[in-house]
Point group: C2
Chain length 486, copies 2
């Protein structure tokens, strides 16, 4: 079994040579001090070491032993808690958090690279911290000062983990059907009652507390999405008391065994409103672009991991004679010399590199949209993120599964057995086509909300920007791409 | 979890209305007495009942409990042995065996339909009997009268099961690299020594004996494929003594847990030559078209099973409003009313039906190639099988996996958990793209051996035949298809 290794130098090439992230980030006052390529390369080097040395080695046990459920408690796979404690104590969850909240104030793109690597190394382990960033933003922008005082710092540092409790048995893509109830109490808190399913990290032993963000409905709220509000219910209250939130069971899944997918029951659990009544979906969907970009990068990371395994195997495995570059001293040639194998591997490599260029560009635009002093620039950046994010999420999660399966094929029968770890990638990757909005939902989002909503004006503007970029080049590839755009 | 159900009426429509199998089979003296549609429909009805009632219910335990290995012995999942004993005693393995050997003399296409259904119901269980038919043909056509006397009837009835021991750790697609040794003994038998991997059903408790067909090489044989000969080594000799064939372990796999994939060690095991020295691959590859057609039909069966599950779920599950046919009495409409879901399901249904037409036609041509009194007809049928089989094997095993994954998508997150059984289909189906010649090997076979070997003459003749068939129709679809061929 060949291990996954983050390659910081490859990322640096894309970030600083291809995308010239340093110039764009230097325009943003909040990040200009942290836009130096040498600094960022150094952070990437360290992140790569952590991912490769601490998180990647836990991947197989995560799959084979998995998260275990007993009497309402979840025990994570061997090493998972220690790795998570080391992870947050080293400051990795806080990488791109705002300095005023206790974060490190580095560009969002670094967080995205980190999570691409973590996903390639061990998606099961990565699920729990992956949800932290949306929860942090959600609390930061919508919670009351009192809630922030209790939870914001714990979430930006990752000392506590978080969940998003949205789905119910009868309400998946159609969250408007959710029935979980919230009843206001005399002290202004709410009693939350209902059952949520598919809650990643709903219960575990990675962190000492878990902060649940829960969609629920007041008894007199209108039906449908406009009746949903968002509530915060922690596993433990600040006074140490345990809340009435119970993990009923965890799902048996195709893969991702290292991540407990929980059925969570709320039995009149005390919680607090986050944001405005009836605006629960808005509060959650404000983070949607960042969350979907995270998932797109899970796809990139898993595909890179699959490519690394298949490429390594194809260089060692000898079967039959290659059409050229035969080695007569051996009874057969490495299968990487067979054109069908080489083409298969190069195709995946191209998807990984293209995914990185697009996803990192989008991560940079997320910061531009937030921090650029010029409103027109912020608007343009927002437009880019809105258009490109659903495309990235759907295309690269699809490709992680299908390209991962192609990489499995390189191993022949050896790919179908556990030994090489490639079949785990295929199983683990499949879920990313479903969660954070199925890929069919992404397609609807792109067409209806992004393209048709303004009669294609935003799409044309973005394509115009791409054309301008291409005009700086006159290679045959650039000419072909220009022709394709016209 | 909705169960897989064979639909005999659907098959009858394709066989007797679309393909008019009865007319073609009536031309074959060996089968003319058994070509009556009423008789064949009755057999199909009974087969469907057996598959649906006896074999399908074992599928989930087959996956979750799986085949278990301990001290060289393999215990099959609960119910597997009893089902197999009932299967062979009811005469199902003997369906298309020659009457002179103890078979029932029915058309090959019935055997193919039976295995399509068995695969859809429970591929893990089906692996062991699936290998029987090639072994039977191999013994029938290549073994000495003495070997036939001991083994032929037991194999045609399925009382004993069989394996194909080809692959070695360093010799997969490139069987010419195989090193297993065969040393001739004074009594004319051979001592076989070596390790074979990926041996489906190498060891189990389904039947009282297992007959291994083993590729091995004499010490003075030339290197490469021409040095390989085929040997028969049973688990138990006719005198009841156990042979020196040891199951070392079984593989942990992505799926197909109900089928033990064995590492088999031959320790100077006594065996006998089957066919001529140095012609081992020829003896095995004579059965290749039938074996590959079996695998193509595994793809058809699994895809049908996936479609059945997804179609059933899509009719029950309600999410959001459909563009048309809204039901205002309910808060949401069945997802089958959403165009993206309907299109996805119809696409898989079209693949299943098209696969059946092509595969059953090919199964009929296998009988024509064997039994038609006219040599020109036999040759034409052989040509059809040679060309269409690799295409069927590669295309429909690919589609079982990718279309199965599409069907999983219909379930959303519920598809990723075990409950509905759809993720098992995706895992189980993946291996069929690899075994019996990887799909890349199928592509090479089609291009080099079937199309280029006669400069495309056979391909053109076959396409000409399709064009003639199309000329009998003048629908828009027929016109489009004719244009496509030209």
């Amino acid at each position: 079994m060949n291990a996954y290794r983050p390659q910081a130098a490859d990322i640096g090439f894309i970030l600083f040579d291809v995308l010239q992230a340093q110039d764009r980030l230097a325009q943003l006052p909040a990040l200009a001090d942290n836009a130096d390529p040498d600094l960022l390369r150094q952070v990437l080097e360290e992140a790569g070491k952590f991912v490769g040395e601490v998180v990647a080695p836990l991947n197989r046990d995560g799959d084979e032993i998995g998260a275990r459920f007993k009497d309402g408690a979840v025990t994570m796979p061997p090493g998972a808690r220690a790795a998570y404690q080391a992870f947050w104590q080293a400051g990795w969850p806080a990488l791109s958090g705002a300095t005023e909240d206790g974060g490190q104030g580095l560009p969002t793109v670094l967080e995205m690279v980190l999570y691409e690597w973590l996903s390639g190394a061990n998606l099961g382990w990565t699920m729990a911290p992956g949800l932290l960033h949306g929860a942090y933003e959600c609390i930061k922008h919508h919670a009351s000062p009192e809630l922030k005082a209790s939870y914001l710092e714990k979430l930006v540092t990752g000392e506590w983990l978080a969940t998003m409790c949205l789905t119910e048995p009868h309400a998946g893509s159609d969250l408007g059907l959710a029935r979980t109830k919230a009843v206001v109490q005399s002290d202004g808190s709410y009693q939350i009652s209902g059952t949520k399913i598919f809650i990643s990290g709903g219960e575990h032993d990675l962190s000492d507390n878990i902060v649940h963000l829960v969609l629920a409905r007041l008894p007199d709220s209108p039906p449908g999405p406009k009746g949903l509000s968002l509530f915060l219910v922690p596993k433990f209250y600040p006074d140490g008391q345990r809340s009435a939130v119970v993990c009923e069971r965890i799902e048996e899944k195709m893969g991702l065994h290292g991540s407990p997918t929980c059925v969570m029951r709320f039995d009149e659990a005390r919680g607090w409103l986050v944001g405005e009544l009836g605006k629960g979906l808005n509060a959650m969907f404000l983070m949607m672009n960042a969350a979907r970009l995270h998932v797109a990068l899970q796809g990139v990371g898993l595909l890179d991991a699959a490519w690394q395994k298949a490429d390594g195997y194809a260089r060692e495995r000898r079967q039959m004679r290659a059409p050229v570059r035969q080695d007569p001293s051996q009874p057969a040639d490495p299968i990487i010399e067979h054109p069908a194998v080489q083409r298969l591997l190069d195709t995946q490599r191209a998807w990984v590199d293209a995914g990185r260029v697009l996803a990192y560009r989008t991560a940079i635009e997320l910061d531009v949209a937030k921090h650029h002093p010029d409103a027109a620039q912020r608007q343009q950046a927002n437009l880019w993120c809105a258009l490109v994010t659903p495309l990235l999420k759907a295309s690269w999660t699809d490709q992680a599964f299908h390209g991962g399966s192609d990489c499995l094929q390189v191993f022949g029968g050896h790919g179908y057995v556990r030994e090489w770890g490639i079949e785990q990638i295929v199983r683990d990757s499949r879920v990313a086509m479903i969660y954070e909005g199925t890929n069919e939902i992404q397609a609807q989002d792109l067409l209806f909300r992004k393209v048709l909503a303004d009669q294609g004006a935003g799409l044309l503007a973005t394509l115009g920007g791409l054309e301008q970029d291409l005009d700086r080049f006159d290679s045959a590839a650039a000419v072909r791409a220009r022709t394709g755009l016209q």
